[in-house]
């Protein structure tokens, strides 16, 4: 095993373990994650497989194929995060709105003094 393979495989295993501890009961997520981690480890150990796949898909090199897939995954993750941010924003909005309505001040001449 070369240096880079060692780094990549260790990295994948750590990421996998970290997510599995976080995603305890979400079966689908774990299966998906397991598939991706396995593919990652496989490609790190046998880079020639990416070359074969790349040629099948009409991409020149295996490294390029991995790069393109990474871009797709990056976009997917960005959108998921954006959706999460919007949800959080809506929750914050409703909390602030409730507070604003609860503390509505009716300004009249009486409460100036």
């Amino acid at each position: 095993m070369s240096g880079i393979q060692l780094v990549l495989v260790t990295g994948f295993i750590f990421i996998g373990l970290y997510f599995i501890t976080r995603l305890k009961k979400r079966l689908l997520d774990i299966v998906l994650l397991f598939a991706m981690i396995s593919a990652g480890i496989l490609f790190a150990l046998r880079p020639d497989i990416t070359n074969i796949l790349a040629r099948e898909l009409g991409v020149g090199r295996g490294a390029d194929l991995v790069f393109y897939i990474s871009i797709l995954i990056f976009w997917f993750v960005s959108l998921k995060l954006y959706a999460r941010i919007r949800k959080l924003e809506q929750q914050v909005t409703s909390i602030i709105r409730e507070g604003a309505i609860r503390n509505a001040t009716e300004i009249t001449d009486i409460n100036i003094h």
């Binding site: 959706a83 909005t93 709105r97 509505a104």
Partner: protein
């Protein structure tokens, strides 16, 4: 105000964000037309209460700045609590003319429409719209049409009137400027009757400086795409 509107409870929702110089003037002129004004301070740096201490309004304060859409929805939610018959949204920067309110609510009084939208581009609309604004708004109305299927003459005009039905049904989730298009989504979703009437918009140096810049339209478009994607 015409006699038939006397028994209707009319409420103006005024979203305000750092409107220091003009807010008193806007509220004073509105008070000549309506009695209930809900001012929503959207987290202004200097709390607006300092400027309004002697004006008879209801003040709601957002603890942090959320955006005009969120401020309007807070005001509308409060208007529901007040059992308003008609709720009017009015921009806090003084660009609208309070005298347009009577013609704005007329189609609601006569039960011709559930939502009445102000337009700068109807044949009878007074005033001149600056060229870049006009160009962007023309483009925006097409975008709105593509997203909502509702083709209006104006887009993003802050002067609107809602009757009780619309007030109960419309719920804005877009915190920032995309709320103007979201109004149309909601109108379509709840099958509300909608009408445009000509209104005057004052382009003062202040309202231009406070208003939307051309590049903001890109942000609105992005928010709209996300709204459709994640609804």
């Amino acid at each position: 105000m015409p006699a038939e509107t006397q028994h209707k409870k009319i409420v103006v929702v005024l979203p305000v964000y750092n409107e220091g110089p003009v807010i008193r003037q806007v509220i004073s002129s509105l008070l000549k037309i309506v009695t209930t004004i809900i001012v929503v301070d959207d987290g202004s740096t200097v709390p607006v209460i300092k400027q309004l201490h002697d004006l008879p309004v209801v003040l709601l304060q957002h603890k942090v700045n959320l955006g005009q859409g969120a401020a309007i929805q807070t005001g509308l939610t409060y208007a529901r609590k007040l059992h308003a018959d008609i709720a009017i949204t009015f921009d806090g920067d003084g660009q609208h003319n309070e005298e347009d309110i009577n013609s704005l609510i007329a189609p609601i009084i006569t039960n011709e429409a559930d939502v009445v939208l102000g337009s700068r581009f109807l044949p009878d609309s007074p005033g001149i719209v600056p060229f870049t604004k006009k160009f962007i708004l023309r483009f925006a109305r097409i975008i709105n049409f593509l997203f909502t299927g509702v083709l209006l003459t104006d887009a993003h005009n802050g002067l609107r009137a809602l009757n009780r039905t619309a007030l109960e049904k419309i719920n804005l989730t877009e915190n920032r400027m995309a709320h103007a298009s979201e109004f149309l989504f909601e109108i379509k979703k709840h099958k509300l009757r909608c009408k445009e009437i000509p209104v005057h918009v004052r382009y003062t140096d202040y309202s231009i400086q406070k208003g939307q810049r051309p590049r903001d339209s890109i942000k609105v478009l992005f928010d709209l795409l996300l709204h459709k994607l994640f609804k």
